[in-house]
C-alpha cells in the first residue's frame, strides 16, 4: 500500500509537515511498496494516535456500565456488515471502544489500572475490543506484598514480586494509585500525605513510590512507574505533587525515558485550602516540569458534560459521591487495592469545574517541551476519549479558548492564568502530544512514528494544513479530527470517513521481566502464605493464562542488581 502525497507530521523522525509518500508492506512502514494507493494529496498525515492513559477495560469499567444503564441509551449504533452493535458514551461497550478509537485515528490505547486479581476480566474485555493494539498497567501501590517488601527494605524480593505480578496479570507496567491509601481505606481511613504511614504496615507512601520506581528501573521495564498521587482531587494538593515528584529526582532511568509518569496531572494541580478558595497552581507545577527532565505527565483534561469517574482511589470516590450526592460504588480488592466509580456531570457554571477545565489547558500550554505532556481526558474521568478533537482545537486556538472562557464561570478567568496565555499549538505539537510522546513515554518503539520499520499505523485527516489557519478555523479542526478520512492499522484500512471498513484483532503488549531465582523463591514463600491465609482464590487459579491473550507481544526485560540510592 502507498499513501500518496500527504503532508506528513512525524516529529519523532524530524519530519514537520513535508509532502511525502508512505509505503506499507506486511504491516510495517517500508522504503518501497506496491499495491493499493491512497490519495492523500495536501492532507494532514500522522502516525496512528496512541492513548497512554485510558480506562477501557476491566472490573471498574464494567461496574460503570452496570451502574449506568442510562449511559447505554447514548451512542447507539446498529450492527453493520463488519461491525457489532455499539452502545454507551462514557462507558461504551467493548466493540464501540475499538470503532471509536479507529474513527478518531487512534490505533493504540492502554488501560490505565488493573489490579492483578481482576486482570483476567481486563483481558477478557481487551480481547473483545477490535482493531486497536492495547495493554494494561498493573496496580502495585497498596499491595500487601509490596508494602511488606518495602518495610523489610528487600528490593530484590520486591523486584521478584513486580516481575511475578506483571506475569500474573499479563501487565505492561507499574501503576501506583494513591499509594497506601487503598489499604488504609479498608479501615475507613486514608493517607493524608506522602509521609503519613499506612495503618498496620508501618511504611509511608513515599517509601512505596521510591521503592517501586527503583525496582522499575532495576527490572529495566519499558515504561516508567505511572503514578496517581496521594491527595488527588483535593484543594491544595499541588504541594503533595511537588513533594512526590522530588522522590524520583535522583533515581537513574534504565532507558532513555522519564523515571516517573504522572497520570492526569490536572487533578493534582489544585491550590487553595477549600472549594471556596480553590484555584490553579499550574504555573508552579509546570515550572517544575520545565526545570526537571525525569518526569512526564498527561493532562487529564476535563470537558463539560457527562463523565464517569473511575479509579483505584476508593476514598476519593467516596468523597466525590458525598460531595455531589451522586450514585457510587466501592470495591475492596482483597490484598491489593480498593476502587470506586462515580458518574458525574461537569458544568460550565460551576466555579470548580470551570477552574479544572482551565487547569488542564494551562498545563499543556505552559509546558515548554511538548514531549513531556501528553493529551488525555483520563477517559472517562474527565470526559470520553471521543472528545480529544475538542481539546486539540482548544490548544490550537486562543480565540476558541476566549469564547469558551466567556461562557463559563468567571472564576476560571480570575483564578487561573489561562486568559493570558497566548500560545497556540501547531500540528507538530499536536502530533507529539497525541502520538509520538505517548509512544515514547510508554516505551513502544514501533508506535507513534512513521520511520521505516515502524508499525503501519497511519491516520489521514481530511484537512489541508497548508491551506488553513487552525487558530481561526477551530471548528474545522474539531470536525476533521473527530472523523479521520483514513485510519490504517497494521497496514489495513480500518476506517474511511467514519465508516469502519475492517475489524482486525489488535495485539496486547505485556512485559516478561526476569529476576534472580533466589529472590523469586523467597517471594513465592511469602506469597504461598498469603494465598493460604487471606486470598479468596488459590494461587494456581490466580495467574492469567496465555489463552486470554490471543495476540500477545511479549517484551522481555530483566533485573539488574538494585543499587540503593541514598535518600
Amino acid at each position: 500500500m502507498i499513501i500518496r502525497g500527504g503532508i506528513v507530521y512525524d516529529p519523532a523522525n524530524g519530519i514537520f509537515g513535508e509532502e511525502m509518500d508512505l509505503c506499507i508492506d506486511r504491516g510495517r512502514i517500508v522504503e518501497d511498496a506496491k499495491g493499493e494507493e491512497i490519495d492523500a494529496h495536501n492532507l494532514l498525515v500522522m502516525a496512528g494516535g496512541v492513548d497512554a492513559h485510558s480506562h477501557i477495560a476491566g472490573a471498574k469499567v464494567n461496574t460503570g456500565r452496570i451502574m449506568m444503564p442510562d449511559d447505554a441509551r447514548l451512542g447507539l449504533e446498529p450492527a453493520t456488515a463488519v461491525c457489532r452493535p455499539s452502545t454507551g458514551y462514557t462507558v461504551p461497550n467493548c466493540y464501540a471502544i475499538g470503532y471509536r478509537y479507529a474513527r478518531l485515528g487512534y490505533t493504540t490505547a492502554f488501560e490505565a489500572a488493573t489490579p492483578i486479581l481482576e486482570s483476567r476480566h481486563t483481558h477478557e474485555e481487551l480481547e473483545e475490543i477490535p482493531i486497536i493494539d492495547k495493554g494494561a498497567l498493573t496496580l502495585f501501590g497498596s499491595n500487601w506484598e509490596v508494602m511488606e517488601c518495602v518495610r523489610e527494605k528487600d528490593l530484590g524480593k520486591l523486584a521478584a514480586y513486580v516481575s511475578w505480578g506483571l506475569r500474573a496479570s499479563k501487565g505492561y507496567g507499574v501503576k501506583i494509585v494513591n499509594p497506601g491509601g487503598g489499604e488504609a481505606w479498608g479501615f475507613g481511613a486514608n493517607v493524608k500525605g506522602i509521609y503519613d504511614p499506612v495503618p498496620n504496615f508501618d511504611v509511608t507512601p513515599a517509601e512505596i513510590m521510591r521503592s517501586l520506581a527503583q525496582v522499575n528501573e532495576s527490572l529495566r521495564l519499558p515504561h516508567s512507574v505511572h503514578v496517581h498521587f496521594n491527595n488527588l482531587g483535593k484543594p491544595g494538593n499541588y504541594t503533595t505533587a511537588i513533594e512526590s515528584l522530588d522522590l524520583f529526582k535522583d533515581i537513574k532511568p534504565s532507558q532513555t525515558r522519564q523515571v516517573v509518569h504522572v497520570a492526569h496531572m490536572q487533578f493534582s494541580t489544585y491550590g487553595g485550602t477549600s472549594w471556596n478558595d480553590f484555584k490553579s497552581e499550574a504555573p508552579v507545577i509546570v515550572d517544575y516540569f520545565n526545570k526537571n527532565h525525569f518526569c512526564t505527565m498527561d493532562i487529564g483534561q476535563i470537558l463539560f458534560g457527562s463523565a464517569t469517574t473511575m479509579t483505584a482511589d476508593a476514598p476519593l470516590e467516596y468523597g466525590n459521591a458525598h460531595l455531589l450526592h451522586a450514585k457510587w460504588s466501592n470495591n475492596d480488592i482483597e490484598l491489593e487495592e480498593s476502587s470506586g466509580v462515580v458518574p458525574l456531570v461537569y458544568l460550565r457554571k460551576n466555579p470548580v469545574n470551570a477552574i479544572q477545565w482551565a487547569i488542564g489547558l494551562e498545563l499543556a500550554l505552559l509546558t515548554k517541551d511538548p514531549w513531556k505532556v501528553i493529551l488525555t481526558t483520563d477517559h472517562p474521568n474527565g470526559s470520553s476519549f471521543v472528545n480529544y478533537p475538542e481539546v486539540v482545537s482548544l490548544l490550537m486556538s486562543k480565540v476558541k479558548r476566549q469564547e469558551e472562557l466567556s461562557n463559563i464561570h468567571e472564576l476560571a478567568s480570575k483564578r487561573t492564568t489561562l486568559p493570558g496565555i497566548e500560545k497556540e499549538m501547531d500540528w507538530c505539537d499536536i502530533a507529539i502530544m497525541t502520538r509520538a510522546a505517548p509512544a515514547r513515554i510508554l516505551g513502544l518503539e514501533d508506535k507513534g512514528h512513521l520511520g521505516v520499520g515502524a508499525d503501519a499505523d497511519v491516520t489521514v485527516y481530511d484537512l489541508k494544513p497548508d491551506e488553513m489557519d487552525p487558530s481561526i478555523q477551530h471548528d474545522l479542526v474539531k470536525k476533521s479530527l473527530a472523523t479521520a478520512k483514513y485510519t490504517i492499522k497494521g497496514g489495513v484500512l480500518v476506517s474511511r470517513d467514519g465508516e469502519i471498513t475492517a475489524t482486525p484483532e489488535g495485539r496486547t503488549f505485556w512485559v516478561d521481566a526476569s529476576v534472580p531465582k533466589e529472590d523469586e523463591e523467597r517471594m513465592m514463600e511469602d506469597l504461598k502464605e498469603k494465598f493460604d491465609r487471606y486470598y479468596s482464590i488459590k494461587l494456581s487459579n490466580y495467574m492469567v493464562q496465555d489463552a486470554y491473550i490471543p495476540n500477545p507481544v511479549v517484551i522481555k526485560a530483566g533485573a539488574l542488581p538494585v543499587e540503593e540510592v541514598a535518600p
Binding site: M67, M68, P69, D70, D71, R73
Partner: protein, 256 residues
Amino acid sequence: MRTITLQPLRAFEVSVEAEAISPSRFARLTLGRIRTQEVFMGNRKMKLADLFKVEGDEPLAIPEETTVVMDGDFSKVKRIGEGMIAGTLEVRGNVGMRAGNGMKGGLMTIRGNADDWLGREMTGGKIVVEENAGSHVGSGYRGEKCGMRGGEIEIRGSAGDYLGEHMCAGTIRVKGDTGDFPGAVNQGGTIFIGGDTYLPGAEMTKGSITVRGKTTMLPSYQKAEVVTLEGVQYQKYVGDLVENGKGELYAATSSP
C-alpha cells in the same frame, strides 16, 4: 379533522416495536407512506401494513387535527405514541409497554389496560387509561435521574409498583390502588392515589403525594398538621428525611 384507523391483522405472539404509530408522525404522511413506515417484530424489520390494516382520510393535516384510532388488541405492541407532540390517539383495547414514551403533547386515550412504563419520561400532553396500568407509570429509564417532567396521566383503574419513580414534574392520578413504592425519588411531581398503597414517597425530596385509601408509611417521615382537603381529613407528613426532603405526603385518616 383527519382520522386514521389501525387494526391488527393477526394476534401477535412476538412483540412489535411500533414507535411509528403516532398522530404527529402520521399527520404529514399520505396513507401510502404510513403503510410503509418501519416497525420491528422481534428482530425482523417490517412495514406497518404487514401487521396492521391502515385506513382513513387521505388529505394531509396538521398534527393538532389528526386522530389515530386503534381498534383491537395491541397488548404486544410497544412504544405506541412515542414522542408524540400533538393530536389525538385513541386505543380501543389494550396497549403494550412504553406507550406514550417521551410524549410531549396531545391526548392519548386507552380504553383498555396499559402495560409497564406508560408515559415514561413524558414532558407534556395527557394520557388517560380507562382500566389498569402496569408498573413504572411516568418514571425514568433505568438509571436516569429524572422521569416524568410534565403533562398528566390519569388511570381510572389501578396501577402497579413504582408509580412516578424519579418524577420531576407533572401530575399522576390513580382512581384505584397502586403497588409498592409510589413516588419513589419524587423531585417535584404531584401524585394522587384514590385507593390503597404501600410505602409511598421513599427518598422523595419535593412534590406531593396524596393517598385517599389505606397506606403504610415509611418511618423516615415527620408528622405535620392534620388538614382537610375537599372534605376529607388527611394527616400531613414531610420527608423523606433520609434525603433531607421537603416533600409533602397526605394520608387520609379515614377510609373512603
